[in-house]
Symmetry: C2
């Protein structure tokens, strides 16, 4: 049996980013949010839940606390993505793309682009970098 395996990477990933709000917090972080109040204003999330999510993401190494200081203000903590956090953009984009293709009445507000402006999409690719259609791909517990 595949099982709810304790160190299976999918199970762990789901425990972490599958909690309510976590995906959306990461999306805002990727879109440039760094401060508590920014996340709060953009998402309308309760402040205690936001504090809990940010703390968990910091603990897990997806975000890093980084203090900043605006002129004439006391220093404050901000949250910025680590490399691991930045790389969830692939997952986020895959999910958004799936929703866009398969859920009714949805529009993807965010488009993912390479540095040079090319629109990119998420696909399965084989070892040589050739695209493989999703319908031809199957999980294989081996």
């Amino acid at each position: 049996m595949t099982g709810p395996d304790e160190n299976c990477s999918l199970v762990k990933a789901v425990e972490l980013v599958g909690e309510r709000w976590t995906f959306l917090v990461l999306r805002e972080a990727l879109a440039g949010a760094t401060r508590f109040s920014e996340f709060r204003a953009r998402l309308g999330i309760a402040s205690d839940v936001l504090a809990a999510r940010l703390a968990k993401l910091v603990d897990s190494g997806l975000l890093a606390r980084q203090s900043y200081r605006e002129p004439g203000q006391r220093p404050r903590d901000g949250y910025c993505l680590t490399e691991a956090g930045r790389q969830v953009n692939l997952v986020l984009c895959a999910l958004e793309q799936w929703g866009d293709e398969h859920l009714p009445d949805t529009v993807s507000k965010v488009v993912y682009r390479a540095d040079d402006g090319r629109r990119v999409r998420v696909r399965f690719v084989d070892g040589e970098g050739a695209v493989v259609p999703a319908g031809d791909v199957h999980p294989d517990q081996g």
Copy 2:
């Protein structure tokens, strides 16, 4: 602001598959599970929650109820993936791959393969099908 937009595809997708257990139910479905008791045995999920998740996935068009009958048994309902459901394999694989690369002490138990057995991975690709590194990709609210 990007906002918790009501018809943003990511928000809708998160509402649907971001609920606890839903991702794992879909993984088991992709791995071949079709019956209530199979999902239950593989995941150890409470039966009322499983019933709710399956019903929601059917409602959303990711699973379809299909009655089957084993010899000498009464007909029963099974759940099988629709095309939309099958295509979440891209999202699932992206998430598992991310966990495998960025979470400590994890192993991906499930490997995704094309029909001919080639191991595949999830990547960003541009319009011509060329792979773009995740670090070069950024969201763009346009």
